[in-house]
């Protein structure tokens, strides 16, 4: 129906920054599904996830000009999405999402290729849920220590110490 479906993310975001509504629609078609699914794994409340997804793409519309064009646009969109979710959760009385208690962690692509069956996977499995949640929030979701602290409902200092403990345990397990 429209040739913009073939455009690269970078070109689309450039057009969005220029006020192109159709380009935003294509970006949405491309990125909303995975964002919705991934955010759903962070928060069980559908209404909150919906709002976060909405906010994310409205923010993409308003700030597409600020995307620096480096790296994958998906990472940028995820960064907005997880922070929106965080903001929304913060406003709610019940902060910590249950999903965080059991989800796992990975670092970078190369490491992850081996995670499933490798030593790192076993090492991560060996971490306590609290330590795993910290590693996940900072490494996988790309949050800062402060944001991770707010999300998990613990002070920034605690995030840092737990992170150090987690690293030490992982090093030990992999040694």
């Amino acid at each position: 129906m429209n040739d913009k479906a073939e455009w690269s993310d970078a070109r689309l975001l450039g057009a969005v920054a220029d006020g192109d509504r159709r380009a935003l629609e294509v970006v949405y078609e491309r990125h909303a599904p995975w964002l919705l699914l991934r955010l759903s794994r962070r928060c069980a409340d559908q209404a909150v996830v919906d709002e976060a997804v909405q906010d994310t793409f409205v923010a993409v519309w308003r700030t597409a000009g600020k995307w620096n064009g480096k790296g994958d646009a998906a990472a940028w969109i995820w960064g907005i999405g997880i922070r929106r979710l965080l903001d929304l959760l913060r406003r709610r009385p019940l902060v910590v999402s249950p999903a965080y208690e059991q989800i796992m962690v990975s670092a970078e692509e190369q490491v992850l290729l081996g995670v499933e069956y490798g030593d790192l996977g076993r090492a991560l499995d060996g971490l306590s849920p609290e330590l795993r949640a910290v590693v996940q929030a900072t490494v996988l979701d790309g949050l800062t220590t402060r944001e991770a602290g707010k999300l998990l409902g613990i002070p920034t200092g605690t995030v840092k110490t737990r992170m150090m403990r987690a690293k030490a345990l992982l090093r030990e397990a992999l040694a």
Partner: protein
């Protein structure tokens, strides 16, 4: 018939009459309004838009009398003026939304849905967030058409929507206007004769505030049948040298002239030319 006009007169300043006893009817489809500048096209469109009130004669628009049921007519009317203005700082969406408010669409959500629909219909969805001042002339004209489509009007008045557009844009407008005319009455004022030939079911030729012709484009063309010819010399009412070096003329042919198939333009010029001669005589 959606538009029935009889003996319409409208004085124009001190210069005399913009309309001087005009009668015509128009129904569903695209109705072309042809005429030279000053023939009263814009005055007629503004009368039909209920912006002006006539000095004499009768009008029935969508079966109603504009003198007593103006609001009811306006609710079913779309109007693109000859030189529509646009608020400088408005985006396309904001402008169309503003007109939608003037069209009494109070419910915000429903109004926005309708605004999106008409912006989509004229192919401007891509730029609906852009400021109007950043758009090309053709796109601005499409914004004008979009607002005229708000609320599914039964009567759409377009005053020279293709003037000043480049050929490609004009072709796109033809497609758009013919689509609009599929299920409603469109009155299209223009001096692009090819537009009339291409899309109008009926055509009215205005001349000096009166109707000089009313019928189908085919009937208009037939007026020039047997009165369009090629010859070596300049002759007839109007004559011009063609690229092949012979003269193409309209009017009463002399002996030995080679008759050719007329175009709508020939017929239109013939109509205007004859009148001009009569006025001079």
């Amino acid at each position: 018939m959606s538009v029935v006009v009889e003996g319409l007169t409208k004085a124009y300043g001190r210069r005399g009459h913009a309309l001087d006893g005009l009668s015509f009817t128009a129904g569903v489809g695209v109705n072309g309004l042809l005429g030279p500048n000053g023939a009263g096209k814009t005055t007629l469109i503004r009368l039909l838009a209920t912006v002006l009130t006539p000095d004499g004669g009768t009008m029935r628009l969508l079966g109603r009398d504009p003198a007593t049921e103006r609001s009811a007519i306006r609710r079913r009317l779309g109007y693109l003026p000859q030189e529509p203005g646009y608020h400088r700082g408005f985006t396309v969406f904001e402008f169309v939304d503003y007109v939608a408010i003037l069209k009494e669409m109070a419910d915000r959500r429903a109004r926005h849905d309708e605004v999106r629909r008409v912006i989509d219909a004229v192919g401007l969805a891509d730029v609906s967030g852009k400021k109007i001042r950043a758009l090309s002339g053709g796109m601005r004209r499409r914004v004008g058409i979009a607002q005229a489509l708000l609320g599914e009007p039964e009567l759409v008045l377009l005053d020279e929507p293709t003037a000043g557009l480049d050929p490609e844009e004009r072709l796109r407008f033809r497609e758009l206007i013919s689509r609009i005319g599929e299920n409603r009455t469109v009155i299209l004022s223009t001096h692009q004769i090819e537009d009339v030939a291409a899309l109008c079911a009926r055509v009215v030729v205005l001349k000096d505030g009166r109707s000089a012709f009313e019928g189908t484009p085919k009937e208009l063309r037939a007026l020039a049948k047997g009165r369009t010819w090629l010859w070596e010399k300049k002759a007839g009412l109007l004559s011009w040298r063609t690229g092949e070096g012979v003269f193409r003329s309209i009017g009463d042919p002399p002996e030995g002239a080679r008759l050719v198939e007329p175009t709508i333009e020939d017929a239109y010029l013939l109509l205007l030319g004859e009148g001009a001669l009569a006025a001079a005589g």
